[in-house]
Symmetry: C2
Subunit: 235 residues, 2 copies
């Protein structure tokens, strides 16, 4: 936790916040702060700044906070991620949020196991918790949007044409003839398939909408590593 | 599993292999192969090729195998990774192996929790299992070397000068003034700190040996994402 993300409900008066949850425990047990210490804080959806600890006991952290800096900019990226296994999804939400992805569509694909769509990880509370962990890691305050689209065809036909407007649309695919471009300097829409990849029909649909089908190299990284790997090349 | 990694002990005669473990179950339940199908196989430490299924039952997979291709080259990278938590280490061994890292030193740092060095994940059998999963994912056959170095100072003073010879030595550090170079086209030794980063004393030691101290950007990715992120930039 490199930033303590604060919400309106944490404020007890003016610029005074009081915490008694896992954020308090982190400050107490991991950061081992004391009264008078300055901690990095951020306001949900707003600026980042410093909090001076005024009270710290085993059940209360009180800080006087001041915000003075914009959070880091989001990546100019919309991620369309074929629904991964619950375990991998949980980690990817955290990682994508930390890397600065602003918008994530969880999409279907033939090779997505149907049971994944019934996973409790899709509960908005759990999604939000993972996104918050990512923001705390990378000192950001702007919650990414996560949109769940369990029907491939209507999503691709009806929504994708608008989503990709004014972006470079790319579909990552293991055996693509073209290699992922580096450092593109332009907004990107990136579709990432499931373990095993998109099926040919799906790749054809992306291609027909103008997507360039690209590979990351001779090796196929696991999805959880592919996302940071692809993002790092692109930006 | 995009490649079935085979060992000498799997051979029952000539080019005939018989499997009855999780590899067999994967072929049966995930790949859903049948007799006559061709599967991608690789020989531990050797070439990759194809295996034709000759017998497939609920407890036996038999294949006739032929090897005809070199595995993909390893990255020209030596990774020095501050010992992460057991959970993260397990994933990172898998990911680093899949990405083609050939040599990994697990090193100490002030901010590494002492208990991590007693984790069962450091058992050679468990390490090896994760490395094999990575090879199976990225169709490789050459086991990465994992070397455990729990004493920071003697390692850095006595071993690092030799390790970094003829490489570009880099230490990743959140607030470094210099930004990670892209696509370096040269062998690299990369030191990656623990959550919270190396302490100034450690960074100074790396610097005194000729390391360039570099950051990945304004955001600090979690260690598990930092490794693929950094590798993707560098190569």
């Amino acid at each position: 936790m490199n930033l303590i993300l604060l919400f309106e409900s944490d404020f007890i008066a003016g610029n005074l916040v009081r915490l008694s949850d896992r954020r308090m425990r982190h400050v107490l047990e991991v950061q081992r702060a004391s009264v008078g210490d300055e901690l990095c804080v951020g306001l949900d959806g707003g600026d980042i700044g410093r909090g001076v600890v005024t009270i710290l006991s085993s059940d209360t952290l009180q800080m006087e906070v001041r915000f003075n800096k914009k959070p880091p900019p989001k990546l100019p990226l919309t991620l369309m991620l074929a629904m991964p296994s619950p375990k991998v999804l949980r980690r990817l939400l955290y990682v994508a949020s930390a890397l600065g992805v602003g918008k994530i569509f969880l999409i279907n694909s033939r090779r997505v196991e149907k049971s994944f769509w019934k996973s409790p990880v899709l509960d908005p509370t759990i999604i939000r918790r993972q996104l918050i962990r990512g923001l705390e890691q990378s000192r950001d305050t702007i919650m990414p949007e996560v949109l769940i689209r369990p029907l491939f065809k209507p999503f691709v036909e009806d929504d994708v044409p608008n989503i990709i407007k004014n972006t470079l649309p790319l579909a990552a695919h293991p055996d693509a003839p073209e290699v992922l471009p580096r450092n593109v300097g332009y907004p990107v829409t990136l579709a990432v398939g499931p373990e095993g990849g998109f099926i040919p029909y799906e790749i054809d649909m992306f291609r027909s909408l103008g997507f360039r089908v690209v590979q990351a190299g001779e090796r196929v990284p696991p999805v959880e590593a592919a996302v940071p790997f692809l993002i790092s090349r692109l930006f």
